[in-house]
Symmetry: C2
Subunit: 73 residues, 2 copies
């Protein structure tokens, strides 16, 4: 099994439709993405994955949402 | 100048954040996409483009929004 990383991205999401879209796109990457936690209140997207940080970032950007920042936890 | 087509897609969008995301992603395709009209009320995305129907469809799907139908007008 490949090593898992935990990344957190700050993403502008204004409704549950927005956050569901981000979730849906990231879950298409299963099993390379093992878990996605989204908080609309905190405007955060937590991703547990074996994929690189940049790969996930690009995928989120393709949803059309603005990614304000991101980090490895 | 290449021939322009007008496609209309029915897309589930629940807020202006949702529709802005779709708009933003499609406008990245300029100048191959010349115009994007989105109606949140009608749940429609109208695209004027020289690109194929499927190319635009795939781009919208990557936003994580559900595309219910689409047609060439």
């Amino acid at each position: 099994m490949s090593e898992q990383s935990h990344y957190q991205y700050n993403v502008s999401m204004s409704c549950s439709g927005c956050s569901n879209s981000v979730s849906k796109v990231l879950k298409r990457l299963e099993p390379a993405v093992s878990k996605v936690d989204i908080s609309l209140e905190d405007q955060t997207v937590d991703v547990f994955t074996s994929l690189p940080y940049e790969t996930i970032l690009e995928k989120i950007k393709k949803t059309g949402k603005t990614v304000n920042s991101g980090k490895k936890l």
